[in-house]
Symmetry: C2
Subunit: 265 residues, 2 copies
């Protein structure tokens, strides 16, 4: 493919916009890490992989994996890939782009598998933070990440990129109201732990060996009072130095790793 | 001050460039969090605070603290502040900017105070990562952060902003070669722990109760072999899920918090 003004290029480029993603049920994963994890772990959702000749030479295993999984791979020019990225993706230097079907995990399915560790995000707005939490949850072995309605769109390019492929590793549930999430997760027998600087309990003094869900709030204003009150405990990460707080992604990763260590350790 | 083309405005704006910072021995801290921590903890290095009338009204305590510490505070127009920021700083909406003398901590001084926990960064290039590690080290109660020559400039606007004020809380040592740092820190009796995915030891199985320094490498390629070999142990953060790795800031924060917990817990 070499015509950057073709209908197909236009259709791919349009996926940079949320409204188009929702309407089409598709999103973009760019760069070798995301595309590799997509074809390795979720080839069922990958519709097309676009790759430059250079990138084919640099990533032969990735291309083989995609083809072996029945994913159509299209060689394109740099110009075509740049046009597909619409300036929002760093595809040109990396030479790889995948069009994927929206990953739709249901909370019912997640809970039916008797999870031991969940991460619930409410009102998270910063794409980098949300993506990094998903990556951290994956590394900590969490069973799923749940983002409440009103959180950032996890299928936007910045979130996808900052998950570093983890979006294709574990179920990510979106679109439910926080009240419904807490109700369902609590009913499934998981302890609800709100992570908040106001917590009476300190991480390290809380028993994390049983099944539980960490509930994390907005970057700037933390958790709403009614959410904190709905949880079984409010837990704070200790601050030993003079820092006022940790950022959301760091606090979440520390909490999730403490859980992993207690559950697996 | 209302003339955005004055010599003073030009002089402040020039500090967006590293060469000018080095020559003048000055850097910029923008936004309420950084400026507040600067005047509260290191008024000795703050040369001037520039603030809009709006921001004076929003942050009366900050202005009082600055004046009480003998720091000159200048009320300026939005236009002046925007011109000072040179498009690299988000000063206009926040209305606050401080010009500070470069914070120069010496490794000798740091080691003379018998530190128990240090964080050494080598070849770290991403400003957000470096700043977030400094913030995490502060929160974990580390005694200092040391960045080897060849790392990102910690006095650049993006690093300063992502430290969220922590740059003014703990000593940050810059400019030494990594070999010299490891030699000096090791000689001072701190165990050198390389954090690297190739580690034989797993975090959680390593005794962290004694004085030690975490040595962390570049975001993309990790630690050089000669650096790993110079350390007493190479330790990896366990990956429980399918994620390939954690990002530098997350890995550093997990390691530093594990140390804090072992040393203070």
């Amino acid at each position: 493919m070499s015509n950057p003004r073709s209908d197909r290029v236009r259709a791919v480029r349009a996926l940079s916009r949320r409204a188009v993603r929702v309407k089409q049920g598709l999103f973009l994963a760019d760069g070798p890490q995301s595309v590799r994890e997509a074809v390795a772990h979720r080839p069922d959702v990958v519709r097309d992989v676009y790759v430059t000749a250079d990138a084919v030479a640099r990533h032969p295993t990735l291309v083989e994996t995609a083809l072996g999984a029945g994913v159509p791979v299209h060689e394109v020019t740099d110009e075509v890939l740049t046009a597909m990225g619409d300036g929002q993706l760093s595809v040109a230097p990396q030479g790889l782009l995948a069009v994927c079907g929206l990953l739709e995990a249901s909370l019912d399915d997640v809970l039916a598998r008797q999870p031991r560790l969940l991460c619930v995000l409410t009102n998270v707005r910063d794409p980098g933070n949300a993506g990094t939490v998903i990556r951290g949850a994956d590394a900590a072995g969490a069973d799923a990440v749940v983002l409440s309605a009103g959180s950032v769109d996890v299928f936007g390019p910045k979130v996808v990129r900052s998950t570093a492929g983890s979006l294709f590793h574990l179920p990510v549930v979106v679109g439910l109201e926080i009240e419904a999430i807490l109700e369902q997760v609590g009913r499934a027998g998981l302890r609800l732990l709100a992570a908040d600087g106001s917590g009476r309990h300190v991480l390290g003094q809380v028993d994390l060996s049983g099944p539980h869900a960490w509930v994390m709030g907005n970057e700037a204003w933390g958790l709403d009072e009614q959410v904190r009150e709905r949880c079984d405990d409010v837990v704070r990460v200790p601050i030993h130095g003079l820092a006022e707080s940790l950022n959301l992604a760091m606090a979440a990763t520390i909490c999730l790793y403490a859980s992993a260590s207690a559950q697996q350790g």
